[in-house]
């Protein structure tokens, strides 16, 4: 297992090289000059040339990429073209806020999505199932920024229960300011998880072993949780991990609507101002988050499905048998 994890972590290296090279090249060949964006309309020719030199933009693309990777290997993500502040500091400063928002959104999505999915499956074609199906469809189709604004108008402007934007300073204020963006983000994901749970549970409940469990006189609750849900969990874990990985990369729209100081907003601002180092830093964070969440999903499979765990074990055993054979 440890070897598998290590192998997967090592695989991150080519992934990151590929992603960084791809994004770096696209940004470099895009038909814009970052210096024009930074200095604006009134800049003199000397200022533009001076800035190009300062940013190393006169070097060939490959040289710039190699320099960038070399700096990256030394922990230097570069400085933002726009603010001249170190990108790594700015991302690390915002990342905990994004983790907080992503975690709360996932908790809402999982806590509501899985039970609703199970209930929908167990009461297929009932009123509850139909309402949940249509509700899920609406939630997935609803644009985040629209739902967010609607919630703000109702809960912040009209009812004055919650703050409309920003992130509070003390724990209670932070908690209050988390509610609306978490619901906004969590709603769409909840619908996906619910639909996935429903279809997965439906498939599992038709298996023979469920009938056997019931025939043995096991209580319905135990059949549902131990036999049905556990076997239906694999696709749910996959979708949850992918969604969480996505959220960790930052949710641009929601973070912008709620003025949440997270990585998503940082990336959006960077894209708007063609701030290459800031875009690269955000993309790297996004790729690493996504890959690690994928890996965690793979590891979790082993815990919920003994067959997968045994595959890891048998691979190890086979290797040790081979080793013994060679020794004898």
């Amino acid at each position: 297992m440890a070897k598998y994890v290590l192998k997967r972590l090592l695989l991150l290296i080519p992934v990151l090289i590929g992603v960084t090279f791809f994004v770096f090249t696209i940004l470099a060949v895009a038909p814009y000059d970052p210096v024009t964006v930074i200095l604006g309309d009134g800049a003199t020719e000397e200022a533009i040339e001076g800035m190009r030199e300062e940013l190393g933009l006169n070097d060939p693309l490959l040289v710039r990429y190699v320099n960038y990777i070399w700096d990256l290997l030394h922990g230097d993500f570069g400085k933002s073209y726009k603010t001249r502040l170190p990108v790594a500091d700015q991302i690390l400063r915002r990342f905990p806020n994004t983790i907080l928002l992503a975690t709360c959104s996932m908790v809402i999505a999982i806590v509501l999505g899985i039970p609703l999915g199970i209930l929908s499956a167990k009461k297929q074609y009932s009123l509850l199932d139909n309402v949940a199906t249509v509700g899920g469809l609406v939630s997935v189709s609803m644009p985040n920024f629209w739902l967010g604004l609607l919630l703000v108008i109702l809960f912040a402007l009209k009812l004055r229960w919650l703050p409309s934007q920003g992130m509070g300073e003390d724990p209670v204020a932070i908690l209050k300011s988390l509610i609306l963006p978490s619901i906004t983000l969590g709603t769409g994901i909840m619908a996906s998880i619910m639909r996935m749970t429903r279809s997965s549970v439906l498939e599992t409940m038709r298996q023979d072993y469920i009938g056997t469990a019931r025939a043995k006189g096991i209580s319905e609750g135990r059949v549902t949780v131990r036999h049905m849900l556990k076997n239906a969990l694999i696709p749910i874990i996959t979708i949850s991990a992918l969604q969480f990985g996505n959220l960790l990369g930052g949710s641009m729209l929601t973070e912008t609507v709620f003025s949440w100081p997270g990585v998503g907003r940082y990336m959006l601002d960077a894209i708007k101002t063609k701030d290459t180092p800031a875009i690269m830093g955000s993309v790297i964070l996004m790729s690493v988050s996504f890959s690690i969440m994928n890996l965690l999903a793979d590891i979790l499979y082993a815990f919920v499905d003994p067959r997968i765990k045994s595959q890891y074990r048998s691979a190890r055993r086979k290797k040790s048998f081979k080793g013994e054979g060679a020794a004898s």
Partner: protein, 522 residues
């Protein structure tokens, strides 16, 4: 199934209706901070909160030149001169000034001015700061008229200009020419200064949470008019609608960058007030005069276009009335503004001019614009208007840098421009936009070359008597009008919204509002 769908839609409509239904505003708002009582019985907040769309790009006044940065830093740093509201430049860090010759100006510096770390500002700081600004890639264009700065006494400097330069006082009141502490920066380093800046302004920096907020506190030893409110907080709220909501809920007291479509919401709230001032920006279209084989090379065609466009209609519809029609690049609030003749909206005249030029059946042209939704919409309206005189407009919308490049290279027949006279002096616009040496990148995107215009531009730059300058610029406007270099649309309005409890807010046309006079009743 249909029933359930109807049920769900009804629930959604209920949520929307609840969100839309009115409720009386809570006068105490969630952010009602504790204030210190003021004499006279009125209690004021000790913290004033304002919202703006973007964060500070840099706290260094010689780097952060974007309006979003300067709205904060102009409260922390001081300049030799200052412009407040519609006033003329007046001394701030300078105690007095005098013009020694055409090119030389002497400034006597105020004594006893302290930086936020308690150290006293010296004449060395002033020279060093101006030199630093001249060498800055970001802001040099504001001070590059200076040849050198010479210290001539314990508290006097002489600024030697490269050539006679009348707008010097306006340029020295720009926050980009702020005086910074030499010893502090040399000791702590540039990077440290960027995050921990100190100036000699009415407020000092307490905390900067990039992307989130900036907190400032009144500087007790400020040499000028003391800050009325103890603490200032700037919150970054990128969404325009959210800025208005935050104002309505009382989370902020002032909201900058109010968009035209949110104005009605503010105006409908009896607890809020809006402040509008025509900005120093001009929306206009450069006709490309470099393309000699284009129908636009015929002045009658250009005049026909100007007569065919109804600017009032554009202002009333797309800008929701937030703007005034433009007759030249210079807004009325800019120093050196002079009247200019105007091509009135007259479709019949436009049609007859087209026929006279031999283009009664029309032709097609390329209009270049950036990807701003509002600007593209303006282009679309003009596209429809020009159809009336059989001109088929092909709109090319690019992202900002590509768009600027297209204009510089002369790809356009008509190129949209939103030029800002940043210094508040007409020379800042006339020189780059009309002088024959300034084609392309510097600003002359009509590729206009006219000896008379060149002479007048240089004369305006050299003339320090404002009335005489206005006469020169009036003549220059006539030359521009006669050559019909551009289609002038409007000067859009800068809109701010604030709580009615706010007092003493002075709106600057450049958007760099000094907040040391502002109070907010509890």
């Amino acid at each position: 199934m249909k029933r359930y769908l109807a049920f769900l839609l009804a629930a959604l409509m209920l949520l929307s209706a609840l969100a839309g239904c009115g409720e009386k505003k809570d006068p105490n708002g969630p952010s009602g901070s504790q204030g210190d009582g003021q004499p006279g019985g009125t209690a004021y907040k000790d913290t004033l909160c304002w919202a703006q769309a973007s964060d500070v790009t840099s706290m260094d006044p010689h780097v952060g030149k974007e309006t979003a940065a300067v709205t904060v830093t102009c409260n922390m740093f001081s300049t030799l001169m200052i412009v407040l509201g519609d006033e003329d430049p007046k001394p701030l860090l300078a105690e007095s000034y005098q013009q020694l010759s055409d090119k030389d100006w002497e400034f006597t510096i105020r004594k006893g001015v302290k930086f936020h770390d308690g150290s006293e500002m010296t004449i060395e700081d002033v020279k060093w700061s101006l030199d630093r600004a001249i060498n800055s890639n970001y802001v040099s264009y504001i001070v590059n008229f200076i040849d050198n700065v010479e210290i001539t006494g314990e508290d006097t400097i002489v600024i030697h200009c490269k050539e006679p330069y009348a707008p010097i006082l306006n340029n020295l009141s720009m926050p980009f020419s702020a005086i910074v502490p030499k010893a502090y920066i040399e000791e702590k380093g540039e990077e440290y200064f960027q995050l921990n800046p100190i100036g000699s302004g009415p407020y000092k920096l307490v905390e900067w949470n990039p992307g989130e907020s900036v907190k400032l506190e009144a500087f007790e030893d400020y040499f000028g008019d003391k800050a009325q409110t103890k603490n200032l907080v700037m919150k970054v709220i990128p969404e325009a609608a959210q800025r208005v909501i935050a104002l309505e809920t009382g989370e902020v007291d002032i909201a900058y960058n109010i968009e035209a479509n949110n104005l009605a919401q503010v105006q409908g709230n009896p607890d809020l007030v809006t402040l509008d001032e025509p900005s120093m920006t001009c929306y206009n279209y450069f006709f490309n005069l470099k393309k000699t084989d284009s129908p636009l090379a015929d002045i009658r065609v250009r005049q026909a276009i100007c007569h065919a466009v109804d600017s009032d209609l554009i202002i009333d519809t797309i800008l929701n009335g937030t703007g005034i029609p433009a007759t030249s690049m210079i807004a009325p609030s800019v120093a050196g503004y002079a009247e200019s003749p105007k091509y009135e909206y007259d479709l019949d005249k436009a049609k007859s001019l087209m026929a006279e030029a031999g283009y009664a059946d029309g032709f097609s042209l390329v209009m270049v614009v950036n990807d701003s939704q509002q600007r593209v919409e303006i282009c679309q309206v003009i596209q429809q208007m020009l159809k009336e005189i059989n001109i088929d407009v092909d709109i090319h919308s690019y992202e900002q840098a590509t768009y600027i490049n297209a204009l510089n290279e002369g790809e356009h027949d008509m190129g949209f421009s939103a030029w800002i006279t940043s210094t508040g002096d007409a020379d800042y616009t006339y020189m780059p936009c009309y002088h024959s040496t300034q084609w392309g990148k510097p600003g002359n995107r009509s590729f206009f070359a006219n000896e008379k215009a060149d002479e007048l531009i240089m004369a305006g730059r050299r003339e320090s008597d404002i009335e005489k300058r206005k006469e020169i610029y009036k003549e220059l406007n006539q030359v521009i009008y006669e050559n019909c270099t551009q289609l002038f649309v409007c000067h859009p309005t800068n809109s701010y919204a604030m709580s009615k409890q706010v007092e003493g807010f002075i709106l600057n046309n450049d958007g760099y509002n000094r907040l040391n006079y502002v109070l907010c009743r509890q």
